[in-house]
């Protein structure tokens, strides 16, 4: 296992770079049957420690690979609107990089464990002696500016107008169109409202592509990011459920 882990997270899990989130999950579960520390609970403390470490690495590989798979744009689906499918200039390739930071579109900072809560510069309340506080300038910004080649960023006319355009497209069921608008919007204004709608549209696109598990993830993310989307998210989730049965 160590050898596989050394060859990178995809090799560790035995999946290829294009594997879908459910495929990755399945691969992880099969490995867990063999490498979970409970399987070694009656062996020597050294073996227990080693098995624990192996499994932690396996989980880290799984977390990395599945996060990347979920951040991937939904598979292209026939747009409901007429006209060409809008593709964003300079969009990242469909296959994620195997390593490194994958910009998390789908996680709130609060649920991301690498980002400390309250990592806001200038929050320096009066503190007791020898206390410690959260907050670190070393934390990566929520969206690295290097994600897209310079010049490829569409100029943002007006955040509110863009959001309204997207919302209007959503109302018409033109999710591809809404997605293109929102992809650009969340890069420049990653507010939880904008990201929430972005996730909702991703969920809709996954649903249309028949990727139910991905759809669920995205829809729940949408609700977490913007609770006011609750009712339309619930309607979409009910649709996911109908497809299941």
């Amino acid at each position: 296992m160590w050898e596989r882990l050394a060859r990178g997270p995809h090799a560790a899990l035995g999946v290829d770079n294009a594997a879908s989130a459910p495929e990755i999950h399945h691969a992880f579960l099969e490995l867990a049957k063999v490498y979970h520390p409970a399987k070694f609970a009656r062996m020597s403390p050294e073996i227990q420690k080693l098995s624990n470490e192996t499994f932690l690495q396996l989980r880290a590989a799984y977390d990395q690979v599945s996060k990347a798979a979920r951040a991937r744009p939904p598979a292209a689906v026939p747009a409901r609107t007429t006209g060409p499918i809008p593709t964003r200039p300079g969009a990242p390739p469909a296959t994620p990089r195997a390593t490194g930071q994958v910009p998390s579109l789908t996680r709130t900072p609060a649920s991301s464990q690498s980002l400390p809560r309250g990592a806001v510069p200038g929050t320096r309340a009066s503190t007791p002696p020898h206390g410690i506080r959260t907050g670190t300038p070393t934390a990566p910004p929520a969206r690295p500016a290097t994600r897209m080649p310079s010049g490829a960023i569409p100029t943002l006319r007006n955040e509110e107008a863009e959001y309204a355009t997207a919302k209007d497209a959503v109302a018409r069921g033109a999710y591809q169109e809404a997605y293109a608008t929102l992809e650009a919007l969340v890069v420049q204004a990653p507010s939880s409202r904008n990201r929430g709608l972005h996730c909702y549209v991703r969920g809709r696109l996954f649903l249309a592509a028949g990727q139910r598990e991905d759809a669920r993830e995205a829809l729940f993310d949408a609700k977490d990011l913007d609770p006011s989307l609750g009712s339309i998210v619930d309607a979409a989730l009910a649709e996911v459920q109908r497809r299941r049965s």
Binding site: R42, Q113, T138
Partner: protein, 516 residues
């Protein structure tokens, strides 16, 4: 390899099971029961009596008969829940030197660990009689919402009873393991576990033999005892209005009331009315007084309304954390004796939109699951594994008593997480890192697990020195914490084995004493 037994150490009843030919089997006790009351009595001559025999003398020997030790284990005397509980117990709860809640039995303070150990030792003997071999290892179940201190205390109780506890398993997870092994289909199940003292809700996905816990929530102070208490109050209040006497002040009368309340509650699960009949319950100015009345199911349900309502929030939170809607749940598994109450089943039905499963024995399934887990560890069940979660947030106290969460509740374990912290003072030379567990944003309101110091920091302006703190939690929930100064690599680490309040010496002494 020697066998490992599975023990459900319950608030009210305990049960032991073992894996035979890949199937969990519940073992009868010497009295023929499949469950054993979790009760321990000390006779006048100092003999210890456990189980049904102890329950029989509850009325005649109330101050020296201890039940529900599980509600005290790993808790502090000044804990709000303990203080509330105390007023209704016929035996005396006292503060130990370290502040823990202990029980005073005939002027001898005894730890809940020691009391629970007597129950565990009884279960060990039950298994040994059946199997005809010495047993030294066990899987013991605890409520999913137990914190680390309560878990460690349960482990210590095992050690006192002469058992190496190979795993502490969550009760709802255990139930799911036993159920899932019988019904091998990929599905999502909600385990709704209302026992004698605690309520747990867990949502699991079962996929090709892998049991993955998606979320767990609960209420550690909601259980059958509380429903009994409501009935006791109902009866005692009426009696007080009529006769001007409070039966709850007399420990013998209270004990009789408790028994009658529990019986009435159980009868009202199948009947619509029941009679409560307690002759000579008190002595009045004009002779003996009796308590005789009829109790209707509707009366009980109205009186228990607030308790029933407390079942909702943990379920909603668990659904949200598991990213499930009620429609995603294929099966609702009802566990714990209290789920026999029709009003409780109705609640579960209303929350999840489907009937709870029939065909599992809510009193035995947890012990059976513990036996299944022993098979996972022992290699008998190669194709099965369990991925459980940690039920509580874990973090570090930072300036202003804030809790900075490092491992979030419902994170799958084992897990590792890191967080960077900065100094708050100019030229700060050390940081004290205090570890807490619990849901509150204020660290001091949570359970404190330990503290350690990282010294010899490089002098620098405040905020410039950074310390990376790493939490590693193993599958048993044991936490190892490392802190390192970024840049210098100077590090300190500590393994937080939550202390249950007993020292190794004390455990050994008690174990030696019980073995005699």
């Amino acid at each position: 390899m020697a066998r490992v037994i599975g023990i459900d150490l319950g608030t009210t009843n305990s049960c032991v099971a073992v894996l035979e030919g890949g199937e969990p089997t519940v073992i009868h006790n010497q009295e023929g029961g499949r469950t054993t009351p979790s009760m321990v009595s000390w006779n006048a001559d100092g003999d210890v009596v456990v189980g049904a025999a102890s329950k029989r003398q509850m009325v005649t020997n109330p101050q020296r008969t201890v039940f529900g030790a599980k509600r005290l284990i790993g808790r502090k005397y000044l804990d709000r829940d303990v203080q509330q509980l105390m007023s209704r117990l016929p035996y005396a709860v006292v503060a130990a030197k370290n502040g823990d809640a202990w029980v005073d039995v005939a002027n001898t303070p005894r730890s809940p660990q020691e009391i629970s150990a007597h129950v565990l030792a009884k279960m060990k003997r039950v298994a040994e009689d059946y199997l005809g071999e010495t047993i030294t290892e066990a899987v013991v179940t605890v409520p999913a919402y137990f914190d680390d201190v309560q878990r460690q205390a349960t482990k210590d109780a095992g050690a006192i009873a002469g058992l190496t506890v190979r795993a502490i398993l969550n009760e709802p997870t255990a139930a799911a393991l036993a159920y899932g092994l019988q019904h091998q289909a990929n599905q999502r199940i909600a385990v709704f576990d209302l026992g004698g003292g605690t309520f747990d809700i867990s949502i699991l996905a079962i996929e090709n033999g892998v049991f993955e816990v998606l979320a767990t929530h609960g209420d550690t102070v909601l259980g059958g005892d509380d429903f009994d208490r409501v009935i006791i109050d109902l009866l005692a209040d009426d009696f007080k209005n009529e006769h001007g006497m409070d039966l709850r002040q007399d420990s013998v009368a209270l004990q009789r009331l408790k028994e009658a309340a529990e019986r009435a509650k159980i009868e009202l699960s199948s009947a619509m009315t029941t009679d409560v009949n307690l002759p000579f319950i008190a002595a009045g100015p004009a002779g003996p007084l009796h308590l005789m009345r009829e109790l209707e199911r509707g009366q009980l349900e109205r009186a228990c309304k607030t308790l029933l309502e407390r079942l909702d929030p943990p379920c909603q939170k668990a659904l949200a954390d598991a990213r499930c809607t009620p429609a995603d749940i294929d099966q609702v598994l009802l566990v714990g004796g209290m789920t026999r109450m029709p009003a409780v089943q109705e609640r579960a039905h209303r929350i999840f939109g489907k009937q709870g499963s029939k065909g599992v024995n809510p009193d035995e399934i947890v012990a059976m699951g513990a036996a299944v887990h022993s098979g996972i560890m022992g290699g008998e069940l190669q194709e099965v594994v369990l991925l459980d979660v940690t039920p509580h947030d874990m973090g570090v106290k930072v300036a202003g008593d804030k809790m900075s969460v490092v491992i979030q509740a419902n994170t799958s374990i084992p897990t590792r997480a890191k967080k960077v912290f900065a100094t708050t003072e100019d030229n700060q030379t050390f940081v004290a890192i205090e570890i807490f567990q619990g849901p509150n944003e204020l660290a001091s309101r949570n359970r404190r697990l330990g503290r350690f110091v990282l010294g010899d920091l490089r002098p620098a302006g405040r905020g410039q020195t950074k310390v990376e703190v790493s939490f590693t939690m193993d599958a048993d929930g044991i936490l190892e914490i490392t802190a390192a100064e970024i840049g210098t690599g100077r590090a300190a680490s500590v393994t937080i084995e939550a202390s249950s309040g007993l020292t190794a010496d004390e455990i050994q002494r008690l174990a030696h004493h019980q073995a005699r």
